[in-house]
């Protein structure tokens, strides 16, 4: 449409992937004066800018048609931005980023070919199987049964593996096609909310995601002002002192009824390769927290100053959170802010 290069569109694409770990816990948000509308606003404001810069998103949300399904919000956004970018004339060869949806067994069993086909140009679903989690032979569960302890154990192990594997480049094998489709690693994570006492894994998903990202020294944007498991991490960083109980396995054994059966199964069956015991993960996480208490920007790799990092960690303002995460992403990835 335009004769001159558009000043509103990115000029060089990067193959980076920014991951969102955002969950809606109604009471938690409402106690802070916010609702799902604010969460959606925050997500879209951040995601839109990321996608417009040519970067991709990762979000491991489900595919059910529910009010708090942010997967569909992100897909609609990407679809709209792709269409919009295709109108841009000479710049349209630069591809708008897509959504990488990492989905662990058994959750991916609910994704139908129809769903996948509908969003195939916006989304890649990366299925993480029990085998990829290191489970073998008789340990593999054929039919998931939520009442069966082995099913729940395998699901938790596979979810942990998914979080670990998503931090590395991978491929989706396509029969008779070489090379396979490559899936880029997650380069940074934005964390918000998260369950503390009703999660189905060995520790809160947010904790695991923070840990695998910190271990690889990649940026972590903790938006702790909105509560949940991220809020616990934020408080632990901002309030120096003894180790918070919430960062110990014993606290979680007391508060999450589904954890003890998982741990029992773990002690009976043993851990698959690369599985890190939950106690070690809690210890490791607290060790990172201690470092972040001293140098938050350096440890979390936010691309911000220490003061701004502390503000980002604690703010309850959607606008402030969006501004600081954007600022950090732009600084870390050397992006030029686009007018809009």
């Amino acid at each position: 449409v335009t004769s001159a290069p558009s000043r509103y569109r990115f000029q060089s694409g990067q193959k980076k992937v920014i991951s969102f770990s955002i969950s809606h816990e109604k009471d938690n948000l409402l106690a802070r004066g916010l609702g799902i509308e604010h969460l959606r606003d925050l997500l879209i404001r951040l995601a839109r800018q990321i996608v417009r810069q040519g970067l991709s998103l990762a979000y491991g949300g489900h595919w059910k048609e529910t009010d708090d399904n942010f997967t569909l919000d992100l897909l609609r956004l990407i679809s709209d931005e792709q269409q919009d970018n295709s109108m841009a004339g000479p710049d349209s060869s630069l591809q708008i980023g897509m959504l990488y949806n990492h989905s662990a067994w058994p959750h991916y069993l609910e994704i139908t070919p129809k769903i996948e086909a509908q969003w195939i140009n916006c989304c890649r679903i990366i299925r993480v199987t029990q085998e990829q989690a290191g489970l073998r032979g008789p340990d593999i569960v054929q039919n998931y049964d939520p009442k069966d302890s082995r099913s729940r154990f395998n699901a938790a192990v596979t979810a942990s593996a998914m979080r670990r594997l998503s931090m590395h480049n991978s491929t989706i094998a396509i029969q008779d096609v070489n090379p396979s489709e490559s899936i880029p690693q997650i380069d940074a994570r934005i964390l918000l909310g998260g369950k503390m006492d009703s999660y189905s894994g060995f520790l809160p998903g947010i904790f695991e995601e923070a840990l695998v990202t910190l271990a690889l020294q990649r940026p972590v944007y903790l938006l702790g002002g909105f509560g949940g498991a991220t809020g616990v991490l934020a408080d632990a960083i901002l309030k120096p002192g003894a180790r918070p109980e919430e960062l110990t396995l014993s606290w979680h054994k007391k508060h999450n009824p589904s954890l003890r059966p998982l741990l029992n199964t773990l002690s009976k069956r043993g851990a698959p390769p690369q599985f890190v015991p939950p106690k070690d993960q809690h210890d490791s996480l607290f060790s990172w927290i201690q470092k972040a208490r001293v140098k938050p920007a350096e440890v979390l790799k936010t691309g911000l100053s220490d003061d701004d990092t502390r503000t980002m960690i604690s703010t309850r303002s959607v606008t402030t959170a969006v501004r600081l995460v954007r600022q950090g992403l732009e600084s870390n990835n050397k992006l030029n802010p686009l007018p809009a």
């Binding site: 558009s6 409402l30 106690a31 802070r32 004066g33 916010l34 931005e81 809009a340």
Partner: protein, 422 residues
């Protein structure tokens, strides 16, 4: 001489008791209505569940500026853009019966220059709130209400939701519309005795084929709302100078919006085009200085009253004005049209106030509407091909829209409020 009223940038707080079954549903509808997407509209916050760390049954987080103690996370890092609170307590039996909430609401509703309370009655017990609230005119469903409906606190009908949204919109628009201090002499900030003149909607139509929708809209405005309509059949005295009366109507600080009934003959009627062209001309704010200008445009809503198979030419003055299709059999269509245009007028006033908070340096212009070429061409600095930044409301247009604007205005860079103010 009249002077403009102080600029008010509101943020909205919706309050409901945690046991109120309707609160959550109604609060979300109000949020969606006042913030229609694309980053437009005032900030809306909720107050219902106890603040983190509060005892069971405790109060929600305090409102900014309240004497009740706040945790640093609520006060620190808060953007200081807004300078007024609009509090919408959704009052039901649970709120009335809870002593902590009664006391809190009593405090909040005390008249203040920084806070306006608009109580919303959800059931018949709502009027039993303490003094300052009880004396206010509650927002409540229009029309007669049966005893059963009044006590049916567990359900809210779609009519009930729409009725309350309509009243909230009207009240907000009256509050936000820039008036002159001479016309609001006894204004109190409490909203309990609102002395502001009625908000006026200008109805533009062709007499030959646009009378029916225009009359129905006028009748609706006078029978179902607290608004007024400028309708030439009523408002131009016999023998009066047509052009002067219309100009005065369009210029009035009470005129908030224009509804154009776009029938087949509308585009060919000189007076219709004249009204439209005058109303769609942005006006420069009196605080503008050369090179740093603030422009305001009030919204226009097009009611498409063309019959099937009819032919009519386009009207460039309409620019990107929104449109609603007319139907003689449309249920609640008048309400939809009037409430939509008043909501847009409220948003226009809000964005104008928000834009006024943007400090300008160098060649910069602030506008209170989503830009389109026709309206921008009224601004001499942009027409003359100078380098300018234009700040406009919301989260940002699509890349395609921005590319089109770049074609028309290659020296202008468009930037949204959200980027500028965050």
């Amino acid at each position: 001489m009249a002077s403009p009223q102080p600029i008010r940038i509101p943020e909205i707080f919706i309050l409901w008791h945690p046991k109120c079954p309707l609160g959550d549903q109604l609060a979300r509808r109000i949020f969606a209505w006042l913030r229609p997407g694309k980053g437009l509209g005032p900030e809306v916050f909720y107050r219902s569940l106890p603040a983190p760390g509060s005892p069971v049954g405790g109060l929600p987080p305090a409102l900014p500026g309240e004497s009740r103690e706040q945790t640093p996370a609520f006060t620190k890092n808060r953007l200081r853009i807004s300078n007024m609170q609009v509090v919408l307590p959704l009052i039901d039996e649970n709120m009335v019966a809870d002593p902590a909430w009664r006391h809190w609401l009593g405090d909040i509703a005390t008249p203040s220059s920084l806070r306006v309370t608009l109580p919303v009655a959800l059931d018949a017990t709502a009027y039993n709130m303490p003094g300052p609230l009880r004396e206010m005119n509650y927002l409540r469903p229009a029309g007669p209400q049966t005893q059963a409906a009044a006590s049916a606190a567990a359900q809210i009908s779609e009519d009930g939701v729409r009725s309350r949204l309509k009243q909230i919109t009207e009240a907000m628009c009256r509050l936000m519309l820039p008036r002159h201090t001479s016309s609001m002499a006894d204004a109190t900030a409490s909203g309990s005795s609102d002395p502001l003149p009625k908000v006026n909607i200008f109805l533009s139509h062709a007499k030959q084929d646009g009378m029916l929708p225009a009359r129905r809209l006028r009748d609706y405005i006078y029978s179902q709302t607290q608004l007024a309509a400028f309708y030439d059949e009523n408002d131009i005295a016999f023998g009066a100078l047509f052009s002067r009366v219309i100009q005065t109507g369009l210029d009035s600080s009470d005129t908030a919006a224009l509804i154009a009934v776009r029938s087949a003959l509308f585009a060919g009627r000189p007076w219709c085009r004249r009204e439209l062209s005058l109303f769609r001309r942005p006006r420069q704010d009196s605080t503008s200085v050369p090179g740093q200008e603030r422009w305001r445009l009030f919204p226009t809503l097009v009611v498409d009253a063309m019959d099937g198979m009819q032919y009519s030419s386009g009207i460039p003055e309409l620019g990107n004005s929104p449109m609603i299709r007319w139907s003689d059999d449309g249920i609640n269509l008048e309400e939809l049209i009037v409430t939509s245009v008043i909501r847009d007028a409220m948003l226009a006033s809000f964005h104008s106030a928000l834009g006024a908070s943007i400090p300008l340096v160098g060649n910069q212009i602030v506008i209170n509407w989503l830009p389109d070429p026709t309206t921008l061409l009224h601004i001499p600095a942009l027409r003359n091909g100078q380098e300018f930044d234009v700040f406009y409301p919301g989260r940002g247009l699509s890349g395609l829209e921005l590319d089109i604007l770049q074609d028309y205005f290659p020296m202008v860079t468009f930037k949204c409020f959200e980027d500028k103010l965050s």
